[in-house]
Amino acid sequence: MNNTQYKAPASVEKAIELFSGAEIGGKLLAGGTDLLVQMHSDMIAPALLIDLKKIPQLRAIEKEADGYRIGAAVSGVELMNHTGFCTTWPGVMDGVKLIGSLQVKGRASVGGNICNASPAADSVPPMIAAGALATVVGPDGARIVPVEDIGVAPGRNSLQQGEIVVSFLLPNQLAGSGGAYQRFTPRTEMDIAVVGVAVNLTLDKAGICSHARVAVGAVAEKVLLVKQAGDALIGTRVQDDATDNLVTAVRAACRPIDDKRGTREFRVQVAGVLARRVVATALERAKGSGQNP
């Protein structure tokens, strides 16, 4: 490992100053569960580590008028301990809970999971399905970016020089909403998704689907928001035909590669299987959710 400097700024401004400042190759450090592994395996050798965990904004979970706001460096365990967030966003929590082991979740953040830009990252599909919006701040000010636009390709995100994700807003949803995420891994845990599918949907009083978003992980260079799949459910009672159409749309959107983690054929097939299974769970949760705003 290199002679790496470590800084832990207490404000976003200071972090941006350090991050965008000068010629030093800096890296942002949240939980470090991706970053430190990459450093140990000689993939990267940053000259400067900027720890984001001392910035209060990045550690807060807050209920705002528009929805829940979670700091980008909030750890998985912090989210798991937040009852309000867990009951409102069970689908997102499906993803968060799957990240590594309990020890890993004690550190791992949703922000890091998203910014690391792995197409197989587990919290990303449910965050996309939830319609989460990232607040990104950089030397030129702040901008709002939908989560689906952050990942670009394995290990590459769309953030500009000096930009930091500060928080995510998960917008309020109507009563009758529910979400779910499932992944397929050969092992029960400590594994990486071969395919992951998330859905978030809303049923109106008549039981008709008024809103649905579907995101699929590990089947392309980034996590995909599959609009056709969501559309297949909207206006239906989310029964056989609709879910068949959803499955077809999900499979059609997949463009995986054959690799050590799964064959193309297998991934496409299982993406459809999981889509059907997550919709069933989301539907159950939607029917059981009266308490949402």
């Binding site: 397929f184 092992r187 594994d191």
Partner: protein, 769 residues
């Protein structure tokens, strides 16, 4: 030198007696606290003042001629203290030596630790550097220029056997075929094992089933990567001290000496606490490099592999292709059994083929057997032993075919095995007959197991398979020192490969001497404190090591009886040993108070000196073990995922000295077998580069992948061990592949004959039905 089994071996007859310590679970396991608190010292925990860090440059090609190596830039990098390449190692001629359950050839050992003419696999060492720190060493590796002439490569065993396959060794002509072939081949050896006449046998059969199976190579997956510290001293003609992660410090000592052309006695190897080996730590990789770097630099050198290096460059087991054909009468009696075994040996010849060939069908009583095997070189790391080397793959084939036969006959699979079970006196196809064994008892216990009575749900199925493995004996030595306070210290020369040796030796010593268990301390030897010990392999730790522990006690007891005789002023024949005391041998000897070990130890100084016991034995092997596994699985028909719901192991341990630990060995073996069955495999890309060299993608099971494993210990004592012990460590890895495959068939009606039975493969098989 003579070959074959030596007639000069020692064993002690099993004696039935009341036991006080053996067979009970000690409350305090001597190694446990240190391990769970992180204080146990593994090889990488040893450090010497002023040590350098050694790193290895590894081949990025699967097969290439090494045209030149330029180390000048690396050598001039500040902080670099030594660089070694092939030029620093003497070439060695073909010479075969034992190194655990597999044999090694020194011609190849030296080429495996440091490539000479060619690199034979991705990860093959081509140079090593010692520098003041790891970063400098790594930087130096990047400055070494190696000129390669990349050659076509071959990984798969069947492809490697083809006449037009890329050839690894230009001078390799298949041994075991007469006349000698006129063209070189990747088939290093052809082997045959024969009993009776299969042609006649198959004619008597009413049902014959023949199937082909393929398994991928798999790694031992020990948690502790290879590591060592070496210090070379030039005084006195040159000597070296090494701390290593090894299953056989004496064998490492001999290998280091041979490869570096040193005197064996000038090399001292200290085995560290072992973080798993399973056969993969029977041969040297880093150690000679570290010694040589230390010699060149004049400083101690520490080396350790990372997981990537472990997976790319150290011994996995063979990938295999096997064909098994078995014929039965309509009553279920096997009339003939035949097998063809094709085993990858990796870069150099010498897979577990010989063991597999000899033991394919050994649990059955057969009249007609023919086994033909091939040991095949290919562009992968040279295979190493892995827990019952070669056996799980062949049991996969045999036990799957047995399952099909049972189905074809409409017979219970356990009954079919019982009908054909080997027992005392059964002639085996490896030659010789079996002693008292417990296969029938094991099968009967399986048949009576409650597991078989639980109902199964939809997509659930049950499988059974059995396995057999022998127990090695070999050179084993130990010393028992009785201190003046009557406590005992036993120095052993095997390696405590699974953590239980120290406790079981203490149990046997406490039992023999009649002293309390906590008055015995058991200490690992280095190579200077005892005579040569063979590698701890072939399930021999408790069996052979225990035989030596017992012999040292009996030796010390002779000495103690001598002391008692002097104290009492009687003839030594008039003293006998009973319940931990010297006692008068009969009423006519006189009235003497029994003397305890402590009493005798206290007076030893005057009456003849220190009490100790020694043993340097060539222990007899034997004591084979048999196991039966029952497994329930559930198959997800939509994803091909196989979930292990329930697992039961029934195995003959001969005598379980430390029952909880025997169970732990059953568990460990089965879990490795489950991992092998479901997800473990080496994945190579089209350039022959390993793609999954890490535990994220080389998928050994995690705790939640396996259910609680039920164990039944059967005890049919081995006749040639003083306490009836049989080797138990290897048998439990043998049946899982077949048991799981049979269970999958029972659940969803597809026969998996290609390993691993991973979700994509199972799903594909399901979509074909």
């Amino acid at each position: 030198m003579a070959t074959g089994p030596s007639p000069w071996v020692t064993s002690f007859d099993y004696e039935e007696k009341d036991l006080k310590v053996i067979g009970k679970n000690p409350a305090d396991r001597s190694d446990a606290l240190e391990k769970v608190t992180g204080r146990a010292r593994f090889a990488a925990d040893y450090n010497l003042p002023g040590q350098l860090v050694g790193c290895v440059l590894r081949s990025p090609h699967a097969h290439a001629r090494v045209l030149s190596i330029d180390t000048s830039a690396a050598e001039s990098l500040p902080g670099v203290k030594a660089v070694v390449t092939r030029d620093d190692f003497p070439d060695l001629q073909s010479e075969v030596a034992a190194a655990g359950e597999l044999m090694v050839n020194y011609r190849d050992v030296t080429r495996n630790i440091m490539a000479r003419e060619k690199v034979f696999y991705d990860g093959h060492a081509v140079a090593a550097v010692a520098a003041t720190d790891r970063r400098t060493a790594k930087q130096a590796l990047k400055l070494i220029r190696v000129d390669y002439d990349v050659l076509p490569h071959v990984i798969d065993v069947v492809e490697a056997m083809q006449p037009d396959a890329p050839l690894l060794h230009e001078n390799q002509f298949t041994a075991g075929i007469t006349p000698k072939p006129d063209r070189p081949s990747n088939i290093a050896t052809q082997m045959t094992s024969k009993l009776g006449d299969v042609v006649t046998g198959f004619k008597q059969a009413d049902l014959v089933i023949e199937r082909e199976f393929n398994t991928k190579p798999i790694h031992q997956g020990y948690i502790e990567p290879h590591a060592c510290v070496a210090n070379y001293t030039s005084g006195g003609g040159g000597s070296a001290e090494v701390w290593a992660s090894t299953q056989g410090h004496f064998v490492f000592q001999a290998q280091i000496a041979k490869v570096l052309q040193m005197d064996i006695s000038k090399v001292r190897v200290n085995p560290a606490e072992l973080g798993g080996g399973f056969g993969g730590k029977n041969t040297v990789y880093l150690e000679p490099l570290a010694v040589l770097l230390s010699k060149k630099s004049g400083a101690p050198v520490k080396m350790k592999m990372d997981r990537n290096e472990v997976l790319r460059a150290t011994g996995p087991t063979s990938g295999t292709n096997t064909k098994v054909k078995i014929g039965v009468t309509k009553d279920g009696k096997i009339t003939a059994a035949q097998a063809e075994l094709n085993y990858q040996s990796g870069a150099f010849p010498g897979s577990a083929l010989a063991l597999a060939t000899m033991t394919v069908f050994t649990r059955y009583d057969l009249k007609n057997v023919l086994v033909v095997g091939h040991d095949v070189t290919c562009n992968r790391p040279k295979v190493a032993a892995y827990r019952a080397p070669g056996a799980p793959m062949i049991a996969f084939a045999v036990e799957s075919v047995m399952d099909e036969l049972a189905e074809g006959l409409g017979m219970d699979p356990i009954d079919l095995r019982l009908l054909n079970a080997a027992s005392e006196g059964t002639k085996t196809h490896m030659g010789g007959t079996l002693d008292r064994i417990g296969y029938v008892e094991t099968l009967e216990a399986a048949k009576a197991h409650e597991h078989l009575k639980t109902p199964l749900g939809p997509n659930q199925g049950r499988g059974i398979a059995t396995g057999y493995w022998f127990t090695l004996g070999n050179e084993t030595s130990g010393t028992l020192n009785i201190s003046t306070d009557g406590t005992a210290a036993f120095i052993y020369g095997t390696v405590d490969v699974a953590g239980g040796s120290r406790t079981v030796f203490a149990q046997m010593i406490a039992e023999e001497l009649g002293i309390a268990l906590d008055k015995v301390r058991v200490i690992q030897s280095d190579t200077s404190s005892l005579g040569f010990n063979f590698t701890t392999a072939g399930s021999r730790g408790t069996a052979a090591g225990g035989t030596v522990a017992v012999k040292t006690c009996r030796d010390a007891i002779v000495r103690m009886c001598e002391i008692a005789a002097r104290i009492w002023d009687v003839d030594v024949e008039q003293v006998s040993w009973k319940d931990g005391h010297a006692v008068p041998a009969g009423a006519n000897v006189g009235e003497f108070e029994p003397l305890s070990v402590a009493d005798l130890a206290k007076q030893a100084s005057w009456y003849g000196g220190t009490i100790a016991g020694h043993a340097e034995l060539n222990v007899a092997g034997g004591g084979p073990g048999f196991g039966a596994h029952l497994v329930d699985v559930e198959v997800d028909r939509e994803t091909g995922a196989v979930k292990v719901l329930r697992y039961s192991i029934i195995q003959d341990a001969g005598k379980a000295v430390f029952p909880d630990y025997v169970k732990a060995q059953f568990h460990g073996g089965a879990v490795q077998g489950i991992g092998m069955a479901l997800n473990e495999e080496y994945i190579y890309n089209d350039k022959g580069i390993m793609e999954n060299a890490g535990f994220l993608d080389y998928r050994i099971p995690v705790a939640s992948d396996v259910p609680f494993i039920d164990t039944t210990i059967v005890e049919v004592p081995s006749p040639n061990h003083p306490y009836g012990v049989r080797g138990i460590g290897e048998v439990p890895i043998i049946p899982p592949l077949a048991a799981i495959s049979n269970a999958i068939y029972d659940a969803v009606g597809v026969r998996m004959r290609d390993h691993p039975m991973s979700p994509p493969k199972v799903l594909k098989a399901l979509s074909g039905t």
